[in-house]
Amino acid sequence: MTEAVETRTTTYREAMREAIREALQRDERVFLMGEDVGRYGGTFGVSRGLLEEFGEERIRDTPLSEGGFVGAGIGAAIGGMRPIVEVMTVNFSLLALDQIMNNAATLLHMSGGQINVPLVIRMTTGGGRQLAAQHSHSLEGWYAHIPGIRVLAPATLEDARGMLGPALEDPDPVIIFEHGSLYNMESELDGDAPPVDLTSAGVRREGDDITLVTYGGTLPTTLAAADELAGSGIAAEVIDLRSLRPLDTETILASVRKTRRAVVIDEGWRTGSISAEISARIVEGAFFELDAPIARVCSAEVPMPYAKHMEDAALPQVADVVAAAREVVGSRP
């Protein structure tokens, strides 16, 4: 007899906070640092209440020094701690890119396997909140280009709750991207929310007619598009990548071999993007099983504008995904 697992309604933000709290409770070596994670409670409210619970040694407010405190996180990880470094947004992470790329991702290889960096970096990403061109971009694909780091994009409450624990157990650096539009997302979550695997893509909806591949902030958009497509008799399968590096190519290919059609939805810019990488992998692995050219729905190649109508036009919308899918399905051989 299995005991009924208690479920409750919660938010992505709270799921992430619970994951951090649990990590802090479970392992003395874990600490959180970043801009305004303590007294302010986190720019997006993720760490609210943790300072009172764990004290300022472990919930560590930092100066506005992204290169400095990300580098210090790398050093602390090498020195035996398990830091969670919060960078306020992916845009600010560019100030720390040298540390992430030239140290965190590189030290293990450069030292011939001697120096591993068990560091977790969390940052928000993405647009949709009228924050204009320096707070709205989706640069996950850039990070996915770098060998030596794992890049995660939790798009569900289960993943927000379950990815941090295994990420902290990884002996190497992990970057977790939290799309800003997801924080208020509500759903039911198991009380004992188990850890999740960090390598496989998830099939969020099954269907036989077309594969929609996405991740992070565009998962809700894509699921809404799949609903709409179902209304007109098109059964879309929705793949949530979950991990951008490594990419679970097999799950993508298995779906495409079944549906023979694919649209990739990516909030990054099209040129040189993760959507380009996924398209290439589909072509490399399932070219002869495709019945139609692959389509992509990406952000317009402009710095993000402030005005709402312009921002909406720049970002992948449900209607864009539906239109792209209809066109691909329409081009039956």
Partner: protein
């Protein structure tokens, strides 16, 4: 050493005459360590010309007193973060000439299995954390290593080496502030050799008093004659003591000079012959040897004996590197991720 102060007393001092010569064995050891670095690197130049060593090769010749002097103050459990000009620190910290030479030969017997080369020497057991070739890139790492030591209740110190060029990097200032704010146990060792590659200090800094800059972050900062190994050792011992006692970071500006070009690619067009010759008159090795001779701490024939020992060590390192093996190409993608994770 608790209050932020700047002492310029040693600046530009002509000799280390006011630093008493230590016990004979210790003085001899300082001389041997500096000589090891000098002779090791001179052979590296030959091996570079012979195309045994490739890539970038940055020589420490002229600056030996800095690495050797600072290392005297460290305990075995302390950590070191260095730059791409780090053969001297690596040797003085106890890494073998064999493992360093084999690394430069690209052999798997090298300290970093031939993955790093001259600029990326690592030894996890000795807590020697590189070998960082991004100017200033190692400084926040040192802050984090020190933070980890403190959070885990250990009394270790992290010695962080960087040059005057790094002082222009944003991450230098971020790290100075962070270290002082959190009072972490770091000894900042700024090797001021007066040139950021080919750009003279006064051409890249509005304020050329580097200790003054560090002091402005609220840490003790001292300018030290980096050509005098005794001055460096004395300053380092005092600084390490304060750092270990929990008074926060200390900054040493070690005023030194490289006798060779920036790297093997550098035609050295930006300095005058006269300037280089002037600094060579303050060669840290001959200054110490002359002083020891004058005070009867170096017997006749002892210098020759040291030279023979050092030559033998370098010969042995080269033979070891020559006999070394190349890592199989099948192993190319190892160490991108830890093998415990991949398995």
């Amino acid at each position: 050493m608790t209050a932020p102060t700047v002492e310029a007393g040693d600046r530009g001092a002509a000799s280390g005459a006011h630093h008493p010569l230590p016990a004979r064995d210790h003085a001899l050891n300082l001389l041997r360590e500096m000589l090891r670095i000098r002779r090791f690197e001179e052979r590296c130049v030959e091996l570079y010309s012979a195309e045994k060593i490739r890539g970038f090769l940055h020589l420490y010749i002229g600056e030996e007193a800095v690495g050797v002097g600072v290392m005297q103050a460290l305990e075995p459990e302390d950590a070191v973060v260095a730059t791409y000009r780090e053969h001297g620190q690596a040797l003085a910290r106890g890494m073998s000439a064999r493992s360093i030479m084999a690394e430069m030969f690209g052999r798997v017997e090298g300290c970093s299995r031939g993955r790093g080369g001259s600029m990326h020497l690592f030894d996890a057991e000795l807590r020697f954390y590189g070998g960082n070739a991004i100017v200033g890139g190692g400084i926040p790492l040192a802050v984090g290593l020190a933070l980890a030591d403190r959070m885990q209740g250990r009394s270790q110190v992290t010695a962080c080496f960087f040059g005057d060029g790094a002082v222009a990097e944003g991450v230098f200032h971020e790290s100075m502030n962070l270290a002082a704010l959190w009072k972490v146990p770091v000894l900042f060792c700024c090797e001021n050799n007066l040139y950021a590659m080919g750009t003279a200090l006064h051409r890249h800094q509005a304020q050329t008093d580097l200790a003054l800059k560090a002091a402005s972050y609220g840490m003790a900062a001292y300018a030290v004659d980096g050509m005098d190994v005794l001055a460096v050792e004395e300053a380092s011992r005092a600084a390490v003591l304060a750092v270990r006692e929990g008074h926060g970071p200390v900054f040493l500006e070690l005023q030194t000079y490289r006798f060779r070009a920036h790297s093997m690619y550098d035609p050295d067009l930006y300095r005058t012959r006269e300037e280089i010759d002037q600094w060579k008159e303050r060669d840290p090795i001959s200054m110490l040897a002359i002083r020891m001779e004058a005070e009867g701490a170096l017997e006749a024939g002892q210098m020759e004996q040291l030279e023979e020992e050092v030559t033998a060590e370098v010969d042995d390192a080269i033979a070891f590197a020559e006999a070394g093996t190349l890592e199989p190409v099948e192993e190319l993608t190892r160490f991108v991720h830890s093998e415990e994770a991949a398995s």
